[in-house]
Amino acid sequence: MNGFLSKEEWKKRLNRRLFINRIFYILFFAATTIGLIFLAMLLYRVLTQGIGYLSWDFIKGFPAPYPEEAGIFAGMIGSVYLIAIVAPVSLVLGVSTAIYLEEYAPKNRISRFIQGNIQNLAGVPSIVFGLLGLTFFVYIMDFGYSLLAGGLTMSLLVLPIIVVAAQEAIRSVPNELKEASYGMGATKWQTILRVVLPASIPGILTGSILALSRAIGETAPLLIVGAAAAIYSLPDSLLGPYTAMPIQIYSWVSRPGEEWPLVAAAGIIVLLIVLLLMNAVAVFIRNKFQKRY
């Protein structure tokens, strides 16, 4: 190279660079593989244990004192109802907050303080949100141990994650597009509605899917705000008692006897299937939006 390196030296360095290049490829591949191995192990265990108890009766059945008769129907419907509360509440509040912070709030010390605290909230243990829900929704608002109290508590839990994801998505909308809109005399709200949101919806949904997946698997806060461990009917109103799939699974796992963990495994399979279905719907919606723009 231009006389600074001898040919042999250059060749040696080239081989070294190629070697390091290869090492990093192997490292990243290994990292991915480790995750996949554990996922495969988990799925294998759950499937082999639970498949025996998985039947139409299990899906359609209510809790029972005997493993052969136990079913997850109440939990499944309870979880779907919970998501039906959590998704609209947390999306509307979360996206609105993100829009305010990104587009309206002046960039000063106060908004940076709020920003930092939202990120901290995303890391607060879910049981703490459960305690908040117990105090505020169950007692102060007097919703009792109801579906509504559970849904709202869960909404608070996922809210910070949705805010942060939506902020990222909104921030990634190119400034040139906003300038184009303002340059034609559009107001801020028109620009947000017609340019910023359409361009950021795929990103917002991706983050929200992850957040809602977390909500559907959460157990701790629901235990605190009073989801029932065994219930023999579906919730008939927002203020009715309810249960959710992770609660059922948790209660089965903690029962004595060799067969209950197998029932729990069957419950986990149903939980995973419902989760996959929900994600599929969300991905479908996202792709529809991506096509439009």
């Binding site: 340059g183 005399g185 017609r194 340019v195």
Partner: protein
């Protein structure tokens, strides 16, 4: 206050003398503590092409963006002095920036179509101003695309995404999009700096056609371009307006030594 009434009034009272679309007096502008424009005084003529030239960082883009107050997208901007658009102070708190920007349209350095169909790009402006009827929108879209000399290239694919167009076509689409709000003035911020020579030529030809109906102010890095397309040229240096005169005068017989140094390529 809204600008449509003001314009009507102006046209009735001063029909003959050389009309100015912008009258800038004692304009200073700061980004935070850094002053970017120093005491600019400049009358920009109506229905002509005014070019603004100068080296990078001389404040020419800042000045252009002050004319439709887009410069205020940067929160720390402060201004002093006065800019009158057809007699109305553009900094008047009673005048909305939305109103101003509807009369003073803008084309940006990098083509910035929306990730929408060609049709929806053009219809964006009319729609935000409240035009909803499909027939009206169709008419505006065709008129604007014809006005920007791109109709024949896109008329068969109005429903396709604008990102499928070439860079030059995208920029003419952006000009068409600007025409669709029916502005009086078009500000162009180095509109050809991201384009190849043939696309540049097309945009320059377009500028010549548009000056029949619009007042055009074009910032350019390219002195040949200023000489080719403009009637008047302003030379900015370090935030000051050094010289402003007819383009042929400025390029053949500049008054200021600094202008001469710049146009003869001694710096910049």
């Amino acid at each position: 206050m809204d600008l449509s009434q003001v314009i009507h009034h102006e046209n009735k009272n001063k029909p003959k003398e050389e009309k100015h679309v912008f009258e800038v007096s004692n304009l200073n502008l700061w980004y935070g503590d850094d002053q970017a424009l120093y005491d600019i005084n400049m009358n920009i003529p109506e229905n002509q092409v005014t070019a603004i030239i100068g080296p990078s960082g001389c404040g020419k883009s800042t000045f252009l963006k002050t004319l439709n107050r887009m410069v205020e997208m940067v929160p720390s901007v402060k201004t002093s002095g006065n800019i009158k658009y057809k007699g109305t102070n553009i900094f008047d708190p009673k005048l909305s920036v939305e109103d101003l920007r509807t009369h003073v349209g803008m084309v940006f350095q990098k083509p910035n179509p929306f990730p929408k169909s060609i049709y929806d790009n053009i219809a964006y402006g009319p729609r935000i101003h409240g035009i909803k009827k499909k027939r009206d929108l169709d008419e505006i879209v065709e008129k604007s695309l014809r006005g920007a000399a791109i109709w024949d290239e896109v008329k068969d694919r109005l429903d396709e995404n604008a990102y499928g167009l070439s860079g030059g076509q995208q920029q003419r689409l952006c000009i068409a999009r600007c025409l669709a709000i029916e502005p009086d003035v078009i500000l162009m911020d180095e509109p050809t700096s991201a384009l190849d020579p043939i696309s540049t030529l097309k945009v320059e030809e377009l500028v010549q056609e548009l000056k029949e109906n619009y007042s055009i102010i074009i910032v350019t890095h390219n002195m040949q371009q200023a000489a080719r397309v403009s009637d008047k040229t302003a030379f900015f240096l370090n935030g000051e307006l050094v010289e402003f005169s007819d383009t042929n005068v400025l390029f053949s017989n500049p008054e200021d030594q600094r202008t001469e140094d710049y146009i003869t390529g001694r710096f910049g």
